[in-house]
Symmetry: C2
Subunit: 692 residues, 2 copies
C-alpha cells in the first residue's frame, strides 16, 4: 500500500509537531499587564462563543448532509453493488469537516492568545515581539497543511480510492463556506451595528467597553481573517490535491502505473510542507530589521526549498521532469499574482493615491475611481492564471493523452504547496493588529506602540498578497476540478466536450456566470438584515441594563448575547445563499446533463474569479485610500475628503470581507458537488430521459 | 440576383418614407413661445456643435481604418488574387459608417425640434402632444432600420458576398462605439462639471443660462440617449443580419440552395420593418389615455404582425417552419428580458423601494443595497438569452448540420426585428424629458406641466425596457457572431473547437472576461479626467467674461466652446479604450490563433453581458430610489436620506450612461474584428509559426 507517498503523512505529522512547538512557545510568553490580559480575555471569550455557536449549527448541517450522502453517493444505496463505499464516503465527509474545523479552532485559539503576548514583548523590542506574532500565525498555517494532508493520507490509505477522498474534500469545503461566508457576514454585522449604535446614536468612542457589540466586533477580525482565510486555503489545498489524484488515477489505469500518478501530488504536497516548516523556522528579524522583509524572505526561501526538493524527488523517483516543470510554473504564478494585487492596494502606488485624491471632489468620485481601479486589477491575475494553465498544459501534453490536464492540476498543487507559509503570514496580520489595539488600550508607551505599528503595517501588506494568492490558487484549483469532473463523467461512460458552440454548454455557462453575482448579492443583503437585528439588541441592552450607559463600575453588558445574535444571524443569512448555490448546481446537472453542468462550472469560475478579484482589490484600495487621508493628506481626519473616503471604505467592507472572499469557496464547493454527483448525473438527467 | 429578398430594400425604402413623413409632420407643428424657441435653439445649436466636432474626428478615424482595411483584408493586397474585394470591403466599411452616422444625425436633428413642439402642443392636451413626442422618436427608429437594411441590401446586391457585408457592419459598429461610449463620456463630463462649478462652487441653480456648460449638459441627454442608443441598436441590428447571412451562405454551399438561407434574414428583417411601420402608425393615445400603455400596445401589435407575416412568408416561400419558430423564440425572449429589467428599476417594485429605504442608514448602505440588487438583476436576462439560444438551436438542429447555429442567429434576427419600434420608444424618452424642461423653463401652466410629466414618466419606463432589450439583443447577436467567426475560420480550412478544456480556449476566455472590466474602468476614469478639463474652462469663462457671473443683460457665455471641449475630450478618452479593445483582440488572435480567439470572444461576451446588465440596472435603480425620496418619502428633498440617494445616483450615472451601454457595442466590435480577420489569423499566427 505504501510507497514514496509515505512522505505525505510523515511531513504532515512533522508539521503538526512544529505547530505544537510554536503553540507552546507562544503560550509560555508573558501576557503583559492586568488590563491587557483583561482585554485579551474578553476577545478570547467572544471568539469561543462564536465557535461554540457556529460548531453547534454546523454539526447539525454536517449530520444532515452526511445522511444524504450515505443514501445517494457514490450510487443510490438501493441499487449499489458496494454499499460500503457509501459508508466510506460519508465517514470521509465527516472527517473532512472535522479536520477543517479543528485547524480553524486551533488557529483561532492561539491567535487570541498571541495578540497580548506580542504586545507585551514589544516592550522589549521588535526582535522579541515579531516571533510571537509570526509563530502565533504559523500555528494556524501548519495546522492547516498538517491536518489537511494527514486527513487525505488517512482516507487514501484506508480506501485507496480517490473518489472517497473527494468526500473528504467536500467536507472541508462545506465547512469553509460557513467559516468564510458566515464569518464574513458575522464580522461586518458586528462592525456596522457597533458603529451605528455606539458612535452614531450614543456618541461613545469606538471600542468602548460599554458597547455590548464591542467584543463581537473585536472577535470579527479573528473570525474572518484567521479562521476564515485558514478554512478557505485548507479547502483549496485539499481540493487541488484531490483533483490531481483523480486525474492521476485515470492515467494510472491506462498506463498501468499502479498508483504512481495518483500519488505524485501527495509526495509533492509532503515536500511542500517540509519547505514551509523550514521556511517558518527561518523567519526572524533583527532588532532594527523590517518585519515585512522577514515575511517575504520566508516566502522566497520556502519556494526555493520546495523547487529543489521536488526536483530531487523527481530525479530519484524517476518522475518525468515535465511534471516538475508544471508544478514550478504554478508556484511562480502564485507569487506573481500575489505581487500584482499588492500593486493595486498599496498606499504608495497610483491606484490608492488617485482614489484618495478623488475624495477631494466628493464621495461619488471616490467610489467611482476606486471601483474603476478594482476593475483594472482583475487583468493581471486572470492572465496569470491563464498563462500558468496553458504553460503547464503544453509542458505535459507530450507525455500523452490525459497528461496535459494533469499538468494543470500539478500547477495548482505547486501554487498551493507553500500554503503553510502563506496562511502563517496571513494569520500574523490580525494577531499584530490586535496587539496594536491592546497596546493602545493597555496604555503602553509610544515606543512600544511604534513597534506594534511597524508589525501591523507588514501584516497589511502580507494580507493583500495572501488574498490575491488565495484567489489565484482557487482559480487553478477549480480548473483542475473541472478536469476532474470531466474525468469522473468519462468514467461513467459519457465523453463530454465542453464546446462553447454546444447550446447546453452555453446555457450552462450563462447561468453559471450569473451565480457568483447572485450569491454576492444574497450575502451582502444578508449583512444588512443581520445588522438590523443586532442593532435592536444593542439598543435593548442600553435601555434595560441599569448603569450601563453611564459606565457604572462593575456593570457589564451581555457581550455573549451579541456574539450569539451575530453568529446565529450570519448562519441564517448564509443558508439561503448556500442552498441556492448547491441547489442550482444540482438542477443544472439533473436537467441539462454533464455538458450543461460543465459549462455552468466554467461560467461560475469565470465570473467568480472576476468578482472575487474586483471586490477584494477595490475593498482593499478604498481602505488604504482612507488611511492615506487619515495620515494627514488631502485635509486629514474630519475633512470632507475624509468623510468621502470613509463612505468608500464602508462600501468596500462587505466587498472585501464578506462577498469577495466567499466566492473562492463557493466555486470550489460547486465544483466538488458536480464531481461527486457526476456519475449519477451522467446516468440520470432530464434531457437523457426525454431522449434529447 | 433578386428573389423574395427584394422585400428588404423595398420595406427599407417604405420605412425611410414614413420616417420622412413623421419628420415633416413634427416640423410643421407649432414651436411655442419665443422663450421656448430660444431654449430649443440653444439645445439644437449645442447638438449640432457636438455632431460637427464628432464627425470631423470620425472622418479621420474612418479614413485611417479604411486604408488599413484596403491593404490587409480580406487578404493582404500583395498576395490576394482578387484585389477588387479589398476595394469592395473598404467601400462597404465607409458606407456602413456613413449610414450609421446619417441615421444618428437625422434622429438627433428631429429630436431637438420635437421637444419644444411637444411642449407647445401639451397646452392642447395629451392627445395632441403625445404623437409629436412619439413620431419625433420614430424618425430615429425608422431611420435606423431603414438605413441599416437598405445599406445591407445595396452592398449585397452589388457584391453578392456576405463577407463584404461584414465590412459594412464593421463600419456601423465602429461608428456606434464612438456614438455610444463617446456620447456616454460626453454626457457625464458635461453633467458633472456643470454641477460642480455651477451648483457647488458658485451656488447658481441647475440649468442656469449663465453657466457655460448648461447647453452641453442639455445636449448630453440627446447625444447619449437618442444618437447613442440609435447607433447601438443600428449596430446590433446590422450585425445580427450579417452573422446569419454568413451562417446561411455556408448552408447554401452545402445544400446547393442558391442563396436561399443567405437571404432569409433579409426577408424576415424586411417584414420586421413593415411590422414596425404599421405599429408606429397605430400608436396613439386618447385625451385621457395612458402614454405608457400606448407605447406598450405598439410593441405588442408590432410583435404580433411580425409573427403573422413571417409565418405567411415561410408558408408561401416554403421556408421550414422550424426556422420561423427560432425567430419567434428570439422575439418572445426579447420582450421578456425587457420586462424583467423593468422590475429591477421600477419605482413601485421592491428593489428600488428597499434601496430608497436603505438611504435612511447612510450613503454606504444605499450603495451596497443598490449594487446588490444590480447583481441580482443579471440573472433573468442571462437565463433568457441562454434558453432562447438553446431552444432555437434544438428547434433547427433536426434540419441538419449547421442549421442549429443558424437557428440561434435567426433568434437574434427575430429579437431585433422590432427594433424600429424599440428605438422609437426609446428616443421618445429624451424628447419628452426635454419637453418637460422646456415647459418648466418657459413658464407654462401647471396643467401643461402635468401633461409633460405624464409623458415623461412613460418615457422612463420605456427606457428601462429598451436598455434590457438592447443588451439581450446584443447578447444573442454576439453569440451568432461567434458562430459566424467559427464559420469563417472553417472556410479557411481550420476546424476549430471552442472546448473549454483546451488551454488556448481557456487562456483566451480568461483574457476575454477581463476586457469588459478594463474597458469600463478606462472610460469611467476618462470621465473624471475630461470633467477636470471642462471645469477649468467653465472657471475661465466666469473669470474672463465681464458681467457673466452677475447675469448682465446681453452677456452670454461661450456655450460652443464647452461643447467642443467635452466632445474633443470624450473622443480623446475613448481612443485608448477602443485601441485596447481592438488591439488585444488582434494580439490574442495573431498570437494564440483561432481557438484562443474563440475563447476570448466567449469570455468578452460573458463578462460584457454581466457588467452591462449590472451597470444599467444598478444605475437605473439608484436614479429611481432618489426620485422616490424626492417625491417626499423617507424625509424628502434635503434630508440626510436624500443626500445619500444623490450620491448613489451620481455613482450610478457613469455606470448606466457611460460604461454599461458601451459594453454591448464593444463586444460587437470585437466580434466583428475577429470575423473580419478570421481567415488571416487562421493562416498566420505565432503558435502556428512555432509549430505548436
Amino acid at each position: 500500500m505504501f510507497g514514496p507517498w509515505i512522505i505525505a503523512p510523515i511531513s504532515a505529522l512533522i508539521s503538526i509537531l512544529v505547530g505544537a512547538y510554536f503553540y507552546y512557545y507562544v503560550k509560555r510568553q508573558d501576557s503583559g499587564t492586568k488590563r491587557m490580559q483583561e482585554i485579551a480575555a474578553a476577545i478570547e471569550e467572544g471568539a469561543n462563543a462564536f465557535l461554540r455557536r457556529e460548531y453547534t449549527v454546523l454539526a447539525i448541517f454536517v449530520a444532515v448532509v452526511a445522511v444524504l450522502l450515505c443514501i445517494f453517493l457514490p450510487e443510490p444505496i438501493w441499487q449499489t453493488q458496494k454499499p460500503i463505499e457509501n459508508v466510506e464516503l460519508t465517514l470521509a465527509y465527516i472527517f473532512g469537516s472535522f479536520c477543517s474545523a479543528l485547524a480553524g479552532f486551533l488557529g483561532l485559539r492561539i491567535a487570541t492568545k498571541a495578540n497580548t503576548k506580542a504586545a507585551s514583548a514589544a516592550r522589549e523590542g521588535l526582535n522579541k515581539a515579531f516571533p510571537i506574532g509570526f509563530r502565533g500565525g504559523a500555528v494556524m498555517g501548519l495546522a492547516v497543511v498538517g491536518a489537511g494532508l494527514l486527513g487525505i493520507s488517512i482516507v487514501y490509505a484506508v480506501t485507496g480510492n480517490p473518489e472517497i477522498v473527494l468526500g473528504y474534500s467536500f467536507g472541508a469545503s462545506s465547512l469553509a463556506l460557513f467559516a468564510k461566508a458566515g464569518g464574513g457576514i458575522y464580522t461586518k454585522t458586528a462592525d456596522i451595528s457597533a458603529d451605528l449604535v455606539g458612535k452614531v446614536e450614543l456618541g461613545i468612542p469606538e471600542d468602548d467597553p460599554r458597547n455590548p457589540a464591542v467584543i463581537a466586533d473585536n472577535v470579527g477580525d479573528n473570525v474572518g481573517d484567521v479562521a476564515g482565510m485558514g478554512a478557505d486555503l485548507f479547502d483549496s489545498y485539499v481540493a487541488s490535491i484531490v483533483a490531481v489524484m483523480i486525474l492521476g488515477e485515470a492515467i494510472d489505469i491506462i498506463a498501468g502505473s499502479a498508483g504512481l500518478y495518483t500519488q505524485i501530488p501527495l509526495v509533492f504536497a509532503g515536500l511542500g510542507i517540509i519547505a514551509a516548516v523550514l521556511g517558518a523556522l527561518l523567519v526572524r528579524v533583527s532588532k532594527k530589521g523590517s518585519p515585512g522583509k522577514a515575511l517575504n524572505m520566508g516566502t522566497y526561501i520556502t519556494c526555493t526549498i520546495f523547487a529543489v526538493l521536488t526536483f530531487l524527488a523527481s530525479y530519484y523517483l524517476n518522475y518525468d521532469l515535465r511534471i516538475w516543470g508544471a508544478t514550478v510554473v504554478g508556484l511562480i504564478a502564485g507569487v506573481i499574482i500575489g505581487t500584482t494585487s499588492d500593486y493595486f492596494t498599496s498606499e504608495d502606488k497610483p491606484p490608492v493615491k488617485k482614489t484618495a485624491e478623488a475624495s477631494l471632489t466628493g464621495t461619488a468620485t471616490n467610489i467611482i475611481t476606486g471601483f474603476s481601479y478594482g476593475l483594472h486589477s482583475v487583468f493581471p491575475p486572470l492572465i496569470g492564471i491563464g498563462i500558468a494553465s496553458a504553460v503547464a498544459y503544453f509542458l505535459c501534453a507530450p507525455l500523452g493523452d490525459k497528461y496535459a490536464l494533469y499538468g494543470i492540476g500539478m500547477a495548482a498543487v505547486g501554487m498551493l504547496s507553500i500554503v503553510g507559509l502563506i496562511v502563517s503570514n496571513d494569520a500574523y496580520g490580525p494577531i499584530v493588529d490586535n496587539s496594536r489595539g491592546i497596546a493602545m488600550q493597555g496604555g503602553l508607551s509610544e515606543e512600544v506602540i511604534r513597534v506594534t505599528d511597524e508589525m501591523d503595517a507588514a501584516g497589511n501588506t502580507a494580507k493583500a498578497i495572501t488574498k490575491g494568492f488565495a484567489i489565484g490558487a482557487a482559480g487553478l484549483t477549480v480548473i483542475a476540478l473541472l478536469a476532474a469532473f470531466q474525468e469522473r463523467a468519462q468514467s461513467a461512460g459519457v465523453n463530454p466536450s465542453f464546446n462553447l458552440m454546444n447550446p447546453l454548454v452555453l446555457l450552462g455557462a450563462l447561468i453559471g456566470i450569473a451565480m457568483p453575482a447572485v450569491f454576492s448579492a444574497m450575502v451582502m443583503l444578508g449583512v444588512g438584515r443581520n445588522a438590523f437585528r443586532m442593532i435592536e439588541e444593542i439598543r435593548r441592552q442600553f435601555n434595560e441594563i441599569p448603569g450601563l450607559r453611564e459606565g457604572k463600575e462593575g456593570v457589564k453588558p451581555d457581550y455573549a448575547r451579541c456574539v450569539d445574535i451575530a453568529t446565529v444571524g450570519a448562519i441564517k443569512e448564509l443558508m439561503p445563499a448556500s442552498i441556492v448555490a448547491i441547489g442550482v448546481t444540482l438542477i443544472v446537472g439533473f436537467v441539462g446533463g454533464i455538458e450543461a453542468l460543465g459549462g455552468y462550472l466554467a461560467g461560475t469560475i469565470f465570473s467568480g474569479l472576476l468578482f472575487a478579484l474586483l471586490m477584494a482589490n477595490a475593498g482593499g484600495l478604498w481602505d488604504n485610500a482612507k488611511k492615506i487621508i487619515e495620515s494627514g493628506e488631502h485635509g486629514g481626519k474630519g475633512s470632507e475628503a475624509h468623510k468621502a473616503a470613509v463612505v468608500g471604505d464602508t462600501v468596500g467592507d462587505p466587498f472585501k470581507d464578506t462577498a469577495g472572499p466567499s466566492l473562492n469557496t463557493m466555486i470550489t464547493v460547486m465544483s466538488l458537488v458536480a464531481s461527486l454527483f457526476a456519475v449519477l448525473i451522467a446516468n440520470y438527467n432530464l434531457l437523457k430521459l426525454l431522449g434529447l
